[in-house]
Amino acid sequence: MSTSTTSQLKLESTRFKNRLFYFMLAAGGLFVLAGMYAVHMMEEHGHIISGMNNQIVWGLPHVFAIFLIVAASGVLNVASIGSVFGKAIYKVRAPLAGLLSIAMLAGGLTVLMLDLGRPDRIIVAATNFNITSVFAWNIVLYSGLFSLVAVYLWTLMEKRMNIWSKTAGVAVFVWRFILTTGTGLIFAFLTARQAYGSAMLPPMFIILSFAWGMAVFHLVQTVMYAWNEQVLDSAIMDRKKHLLGIFVLASLYMVTVYHFTNMYFANRIGFEYFILRDGGIFPDLFWWGYVGLGNILPLILIYLPGLGRKKCALAASLAVVLGGFAFLYVFIIGGQAFPLSIFPGYEVSSSFGDGQISSYHPSIYEFMLGLSGLAIAFIITSISVRVLNFLPHDKPYIAD
């Protein structure tokens, strides 16, 4: 093949990629637009057009938002292992991890904010601050993480600032632990609800964040390597795959302990029967979606010998992400669907759904809003990796 033909082919390929890039960006933009349309409709008609009601007050948008926020914290694990624990193969991935964290946090917070009854008043959350509210703490934690990660990225990507990268890395490491603790506490402080009000929740969310963040990181990294026609060193791939496996096992352990501790309390056993056995869609999603798809399948893909490396790791990561969504749907919606125990020991009925399982059917607008959060994260990531140097540059692999 002559040199001119090769360069012609390369040019063709670049042109195709350019078009594909703009096409994907436009597709992402359409999803964001659809989300904004949903917000406009909710502004116009109120939350009546969503599937949420006075019993299920947090719905599908919260599932998307909390997944994105938890994964945004967890993805920083990759950076922490590099900056705090000094592992070289993770250190070169720290900028990408920081970028993903900012992108997902932006997506998640946008969804959370736009689902408010009065998103136009969001400034009130900054001007009127209730010190006893874990929600108010989270506002500080989220904006703090944004700023800290931005500074951390600066120390990583600006050579003159490199000396500060370890300090910034440690600050981010500590902050994200507190942040995910805060996310867990949102539910842990709800003492009256059988599904929540457990001290297990903050550590459980931290471990879940490790698995979800790692899975998202792996998905994005695989796409980036494929796009740039590069091959990830198989030793690095194995290490990351096994780390994902450990996180998946650890998170399954935490979820198991959470349910076991709930079963220990006599007044919560009814809830456990509901969520794990009798609750229709919730046990289905829990066992098939979370345990099967989100844990067992990834573990098989990761640990069963003889399976291909690259595709297995990709499929395992995708399964962990989907399992994460299933888990959050069960946790958030299922937790509210089970009736509050206002009169323990009594059969209860009323016009307000007391004593009854609440039903919830998410509307198209909730899907549109939730997906727009993913699209925002996608757009921020894809533009950033195109204009800045976020692709990990590995030196020849040496185990450390």
């Binding site: 109120g46 947090w58 408010l116 969001i122 009130v124 209730n130 874990v134 009256a192 009323s350």
Partner: protein, 238 residues
Amino acid sequence: MNDTQNQRRSFLKTSLGVAAVAIAPGFLLFDVAHGHSEAVSAKVRWGMLINTESCADGCNDCVNACNKENGLSGGTLPTDSQWMRKIEIKDISGGHSLSLPMMCQHCEHPPCVDVCPTGASFKRADGIVLVDRHLCIGCRYCMMACPYKARSFVHEPLHDQNPDVPRGRGTVEACSMCVHRIDKGQQPACAEACSNKSILFGNLNDPDSEIAKKIRTVASAQVRSDLGLNPGIRYQGL
């Protein structure tokens, strides 16, 4: 005195007169709008004692009065606001059944106030738990935190509101113990409407009040007292 000085004087007089005429109605209207301007006091703790033994099964008078007073539609869809509802309860082991009204329990330590990020949920010095509709951003965390499911979210735009009870789409609301009536020295609408006199309203802190005397003499209970929230609503016969 020369002409210029006279002109200046009359100009000043006229200006003062015009200013007084312009400002006075504002002051007067401010007074009208605010009625009693003295602050509420922690010496008072408003509460209710509900007699479940005389509360009639199937009677909805209190709920209807609440809806009318506060301009609620009275609808019972899951998206409709219900500040007050009747709950039928039946003892699982004994079979004994009761009917009772349930609403905001006006806790001394309200979880809704603790969790509200903006301080929109607040407790007045006299124990009434309210929502400031101007500060509420509609996050619904208070609804998640309330052990009594006492709060509703306004899912639709509102029309023809009662001027005494402003509400707002996209904000959370609940029983205000008819604070606008209490501040005028009246009883909450539910207490007034109950034909069996099952709802006794009064100042829990005043040992000579009817409610305080009754609480000393009859057995009464707070719902979910195990949570330690010390609600201002007590139930007799529960």
